[in-house]
Symmetry: C3
Amino acid sequence: MQLAFTPDEIAAIVQPRAARGATAAVIRGISALGTARPGDLSFLGNPKYRSEVAGTRASLVLVPPDYTGEPAAGQLFLVVDQPSVALARLCARIEQMLRSPPAPGVHPSAVVAPDAQIATTAAIGPLCVIEADVRVGGRTCLQASVYAGRGTVIGDDCLLMPGVRLYPGTQLGHRVRLHANVVIGSDGFGYEQVNGRHEKVPQIGQVVIEDDVEIGAGSTVDRARFGRTIVGEGTKIDNLVQLGHNVVIGKHCILCAQTGISGSTTVGDCVVLGGQVGVGGHITIGKGVKAGGQTGIAADVPAGTYINGTPALPYMLERRLAVLHQRLPELFHRLDALEAQVKKSTAAK
Amino acid sequence: MQLAFTPDEIAAIVQPRAARGATAAVIRGISALGTARPGDLSFLGNPKYRSEVAGTRASLVLVPPDYTGEPAAGQLFLVVDQPSVALARLCARIEQMLRSPPAPGVHPSAVVAPDAQIATTAAIGPLCVIEADVRVGGRTCLQASVYAGRGTVIGDDCLLMPGVRLYPGTQLGHRVRLHANVVIGSDGFGYEQVNGRHEKVPQIGQVVIEDDVEIGAGSTVDRARFGRTIVGEGTKIDNLVQLGHNVVIGKHCILCAQTGISGSTTVGDCVVLGGQVGVGGHITIGKGVKAGGQTGIAADVPAGTYINGTPALPYMLERRLAVLHQRLPELFHRLDALEAQVKKSTAAK
Amino acid sequence: MQLAFTPDEIAAIVQPRAARGATAAVIRGISALGTARPGDLSFLGNPKYRSEVAGTRASLVLVPPDYTGEPAAGQLFLVVDQPSVALARLCARIEQMLRSPPAPGVHPSAVVAPDAQIATTAAIGPLCVIEADVRVGGRTCLQASVYAGRGTVIGDDCLLMPGVRLYPGTQLGHRVRLHANVVIGSDGFGYEQVNGRHEKVPQIGQVVIEDDVEIGAGSTVDRARFGRTIVGEGTKIDNLVQLGHNVVIGKHCILCAQTGISGSTTVGDCVVLGGQVGVGGHITIGKGVKAGGQTGIAADVPAGTYINGTPALPYMLERRLAVLHQRLPELFHRLDALEAQVKKSTAAK
C-alpha cells in the first residue's frame, strides 16, 4: 500500500498548534530524521536528535513547541505538543486504512452453520468456515479463510487474520488479535507406550485465550489433555511460538519468536522470554522472570530472576562463565607451565 | 465446547461394577482429585493418590474395586476395574464429540477434480481443494480448507485438520492424522551456486507418510530431491517440526516440538528427540537414540545412546561437564593461588 | 505422483548422441547407481562412481561419452555430453508435470475485488481471496487458497503455493516463489509498557520481497513499524524461518530452516546462516558471514567471518574451546595433583 496524504490531511489528524513553512509534497512515507527523503514525514520525538532537524530532507516534520528552528525551502514544520503522540495518532489512522475488514455481516462465500450466533456488528470474511454452536462477539472481524470449530466462543472486538484455525471448544476473550495461520487448540502431544507402539492419549481439554492477548503468525497452542491451556490477559506472543498442552501463561507476559514451552508448565505474570527459548515440561517459572534468547530452562525458576544460557543460570553468572570459557586455552597453558616448573623445582632438590 | 454428561450417561460409558452414593450434578469437566470442583469427574488411577479421594470436591469419582471409602453427600463413586482405562474410554467418547467431521460425502463448497477417486465413506469438508488424480480412502476426513495436490494418495481412516497442504504426489498411509496447517511435500532446500547466484535444484521426489503417523500443527516436511522423504510407521511428530528433503525417519519415533532435521539424514526406529533439537544433514542416528531438548547433532550417533548438549555428547558426560563449567571461577582462583605459592617458594630458595 | 516415461520419451528429452542396449521397462523413478532398482533411471554424473555402473540394477543409465562399458541384458545406456545437465533437464520437465497450475484466468471459486488488476496470463486458483487494489503480474500463479491483502503488488512469473497470506501493502518482485502457508507482512512485535500493560505500537510499514527470492513453507516475515522490511534479490529462505520488523536481508543470502532474526537487524549480501540460528535485534551482520547451525548472534559480526556457537565466536576458536571444554575433568585432576604436590613439597622444607 502506498501512503498518500496531503499536508492538510496530516494537519487534520495531528491538530498542530502552529505551522511554519510550506510544502507541496504529497506525504508517502514516514522515516527517521537522518534517513528521510523528500516526500517523507519525520518527527522530533527524542531531544537528542534535535540537531538532526536542520539537516533532514523530510518534507514535513512534527516538532515540539520548544523547537525554534526554521524549515528549509519546501519544508513544513507542524508544531505539536508531543510529536510522538501525534505520530502514534497518525500511525493508528494509517493502520485502519491498511486493514481491509470485510463490512459487517457474513460474506456470501463463507460457510456458516445455521445455529452459529454471530453478532450483527461482526464481520465474517470470505471463505471462512464457522461450525455449529459457535458464538462471535460484537465488532469482531474474521478476515478471510478462518476456521472456527464447533462450540468456539470468540469475544468482542477481536481480529482474526487469514488462515487462523480454532479447534472445537476454543475460547477467546475480548480484543484478542490472532495473526495469519495461528492454530489454537490442536491436540496435545501425549502418547502412552504399549508394546513398543505409541498409543494416543485423548486430548479433550480446551484452550482459553484471555482478553487483550495478541499471538503472532504461525504460532500454535495445544488444547489441554483435560482441563484448560490458558494464555493470560494482556500477554503478547510473537511468531512461530509453540505452547504445549496444559501450559498456563500468566498475565502481561512477552514471549518472543520461536520460543517453545512444553506441556503442563506454568509461567507467572509479567514474564519475558527472548527468542528461541526452550522450556521443559512440568516447570514453574516465577513472576517477572526474564530469560535471554535461546535460554534452555529445565528446572523451576524463582520469581524475579534474570536468566540466560543452556542450562539456564543467573544472567551475570552465565556471562562471567562465558568469559572464563574463552580463557580455557590460557588456563591449559598456565597449568602446563606450572607443572613443568614444579617438576623442575622438585627434581632440583 | 462445554461437556454435559448426566451420571447415567457416564455410567453407560464406563460400565461400572457397582455404584456408591449419588449426585444430582451434571458433569462438566474432568480434573485431578486435588483440583476438582463440584461438577467435575475425577478418578483414582494411581494408588499414591488414594488419600486424596476422601477430600476431593469432585461430584463423581471412578474408583477401583479395592477402594473401600464412602462418598460424601452429593457425591457418586463408580467402581470400575481399572479407573484409567475407564477414563480413557470416556475421553475417547468426548473426543469424538469434539470433532465435527463433515458427514460422508463432498461438501458443495469443495473444489474437486472430476477424476479424483474419493471413497463413498470419506468426508471432504467445506472449501477443500482436491486436484486431479487424487485418491482418498474409506472413512477418511478432510476437515475443511485442505489442499491435496495432483496425484496425492490418502489412505483409509485418516484425519486431516483445517489448512493442511499436500503437495503433488504425496502419499499418506492409513490412520494418518495431520494437524492444522501442516505442509507435506514442499520443495527441498537445494541450490547450486552459479556465478554468485543460487540456481534452484529441481525437487521432484515425493513424501511418503506411513501408517499411524501423527504430525502436529504447522509442521513441514519437504519432498525429496528425487526419491522419497519418509516418515516411518507409528512415528509421532509434534508442532512446528521441520524435516528436510530425503530425510528418512524410522518407525515409532517421537520428535518433539520445533525440532529440525536437515536434508538426507536418517533416523533409526524408536528414536526420541526432545524439543528444539537440531540435526545436521547427511547424518545417521541409530536405533533407540534419545536426545535432550535443544541438543545439536552434527555427527552420526550410535544406536541406543542418550545424548545432550551442543555439540551433542553422551548425557552423563555432558551433565558432568556442565557442572565443572560452573566451577571455572574456582579453577582460576586455585590456579592463581598455586602460581603465587610456587613463585614465592621458588624465590625463597 | 507416479512417474511413467518410456525410454523413447526420455530420449526425446535428453537428446542422446548414442544409445547402447535396450529396455522394455517403463521408467518410474530416479535413483543413485548403488540404490537403483529395475524401472529406475540412474546416471554417471561423478567419475568416482564409474565402477558402480557395471553393477547397477537401473533399467536406464545416462552415461558420458568416455564411458565405454556395455549394458546388461534389458538395460539401456543413453550417451549424453553431460549426464548431470541431462538429468537436470529431465528433472525440470518432471517438475513442470508435478505442479498443477490452474489454467490462466480466475477460478470461479476465487473471491476477487472488482478493481484488482490481474494480468490475463496470470492464474488465480480456487478459493483465493484478492482484495481491493491488488496487482498480479504476467504468468504469475496463485495455486489455491492464497490471500492477497489490499494494495498488494505481485510481479511477473511468481508462484504462490496454497495458503500463502500476504498482508496489505506487501510487494513481491518477479520470479518470487512462496511455499505453502508462508505469511508476509504480519505485524511487527512492538509494544510499549504503560502502567504494567503492553500497549501496541502500530505497525504500518510494509514488506518488500525482491526478485528471485524463494521462501520455504510456514515462514513468517513481519511488516516494518514504518518503512520497509526487505528481503534482497536472489535470497533463499528455508522453512519455518522468522524475520522481525524492519529487518533488511541482503542479496543472495541463504537462511536455513527455523532461523530467527529479531527486529531492525541488517544482514549483508551473500550471508549464509545455518538452521536454528538466532540473531538479536538492531545488529549488523557483514557481507559474506557464515554461521553454523544453532549459532546465537548477539552482537555485530564483521564481514567475511565464519562463526559458531552461543555466544557466537570465530569458528576455529569455538571448535577449539569445545574440545578444551571436554577436557575439564582432566584439568581439575591435574590441578588437584599439583596442589597436593606443592603442599607436600612446601611441608617438606
